[in-house]
């Protein structure tokens, strides 16, 4: 029987779940990756910079409680560092981003072996782009929070007698707030003089269309699972007439393991 929770009940459940749970299965995943990155930040340059990115991802996933096994909670961390160059190779930039997100998803059993989870997500992130060119605007800083949606589709199947799992995760921030300097504002004004000018902006899919996709194929090895997959991410914004994008295409590899926590 599926248990329907009102938003209020769900919130209560989220707060109380650590005490209600008696035995929870958790899955921890660690992935590392390398791939291509494309960066545009018109505060620094009108040109798109391209280069290499290294990524780290870790997540922990568990059911909300034994009573509400159809709900899962996942918290994730994404760390990225990219080194990108201008089209003419005359300048380079470092681009870094650190994201944390928390997702609550409800499960639907679609077909034999196929499950779909979907639900709300909250994320917070900070990052920078540092241009080696220098000057009074050598870098751009970012900090943002957002609420959005997250979904996972999982398909378990057998191939050559091996149980394999294909899993895709998509995250889309829908509404949030982000820091941005004004169009021609210098960081000297913001940080040295403390002159703030609407530097926190409301973000939504219209001015910050952002999406992340993580697809992995995993196979059991002993008590763990080996993952190999693809991560695509488009983190974008158009605030105060300043355009920004970071597009990632990354090959990810890593492992996950499950364990149970017993509580009295």
């Amino acid at each position: 029987m599926h248990i329907k929770l009102s938003p209020l009940l769900l919130l209560l459940q989220l707060l109380l779940c650590p005490t209600l749970a008696t035995a929870q299965e958790r899955e921890r995943t660690v992935l590392v990756g390398v791939g291509a990155q494309n960066v545009l930040d018109t505060y620094l340059s009108p040109l798109e910079y391209t280069g290499t990115n290294i990524s780290f991802h870790s997540s922990s996933r568990r059911s909300l409680s034994d009573k509400h096994a159809d709900w899962q909670f996942q918290r994730s961390c994404w760390a990225d560092l990219g080194f990108v160059s201008s089209p003419t190779d005359d300048n380079d930039e470092w681009d870094g981003q650190l994201q944390f997100d928390w997702a609550w998803r409800y499960r639907w059993n679609i077909a034999e072996g196929l499950q779909l989870w979907a639900g709300p997500m909250a994320e917070v992130g900070a990052g920078f782009t540092y241009s080696m060119r220098g000057g009074n605007n050598p870098a751009q800083g970012r900090i943002a929070i957002a609420l959005g949606g997250s979904a996972i589709a999982r398909y378990d199947f057998r191939l050559w007698q091996k149980p394999l799992r294909l899993e895709g995760r998509a995250d889309i921030p829908l509404l949030g707030a982000a820091f941005s300097p004004r169009y021609g504002q210098s960081y000297y004004e913001i940080f040295s003089l403390g002159h703030y000018d609407a530097n926190v902006q409301l973000t939504h899919v219209g001015n910050a269309p952002t999406a992340r996709l993580l697809c992995t194929l995993s196979a059991p090895i002993g008590r763990s699972r080996l993952h190999i997959g693809y991560r695509g991410e488009a983190r974008q914004s158009r605030l105060h007439h300043l355009k920004r994008h970071s597009w990632l295409n990354t090959l990810m590899i890593g492992y996950s393991y499950s364990f149970r926590i017993l509580r009295q």
Binding site: L174, Q236, H241
Partner: protein
Amino acid sequence: MKHRLSLLILSLLLFTGCITEDVATDTRRGNFETLWQLFDERYCFFDYKAEEYGLDWRKVYEDYAVRVDEQMTEEQLFEVLSELCSELRDGHVNLVTPYGTSRYGAWFDDYPANYSDTLERCYLGRTEEYRSSGALKYKILPDNVGYVRCSSFENNFGDGTLHEMMRYLALCNGLILDIRNNGGGMLTAAEKLASLFVNEKTLAGYIMHKTGPAHAAFSAPEPLYVEPFEGLRWQKPVVVLVNRRTYSAANSFTMYLKGMPHVTILGDYTGGGSGMPLMSELPNGWSVRFSACPMLDRYGNHTELGIAPDVEADITSEDFQRSIDTLIETARTMLKQ
């Protein structure tokens, strides 16, 4: 309902899609168009310079567009774009290329130098005869007037450096602060040196920034204050020596001190340069520097084209031939009165 919401989100994502910037291709024409547009959207003195000397940026486009074709060499393109930059009459506007850095120099080339390092040596003496720390050189002249030569604001001053300098000069009757040929640097360094000469938090000017690509899209002017230096205030008369190469942060330093009761600005107009410069680049990789954040004096006036001295003076050729710096001597006379 859920399906409708999902469809709405999906359509918004598809509609907004990828955020990109339309940049011209790396051709002669493309680089010209990008440079002109970059200034058009981000340069901060169009309206002011239209009033001051009739700058018409649209006409500049028409005049220069016909001079650009795909057959010209890169060096010829550099020459044309350098001339285009010079139309802005701004020492903070530069094009940095393998063929050199374009720079506008009429703001000092067209005027007397009013500074000579040979004369500076006559007053400071040999290396062991004056004190020096970073961009500061100072000594006590025979008539008990302190002379401080500040050649740059490229690096900030340490508290200890300023404490020691002021302690050394404390018994002087007055101070000559020589910022001629000081091309600027860090505004924070200019603020710190100025902090020696205020007794309380003092309004020194205003700063603005562009809020959009339109020529007149500016934020409200935000006040700039100079805070007094911790535990140290110079109370005696000060004469600040300036010339046409007193520029950028040194121009701001002059702006901070001008009008203060015990301060006299002596020399020629300063060079100006009141727009804080930012950097960008062209499709061919050439760097562009341009003024982005204008600063105004405490009365709300632009100082981009220079600040008038309180007392005008030039180094005369007779004095120069006798190894006398007219400005220093005028300042000494003023401080004796």
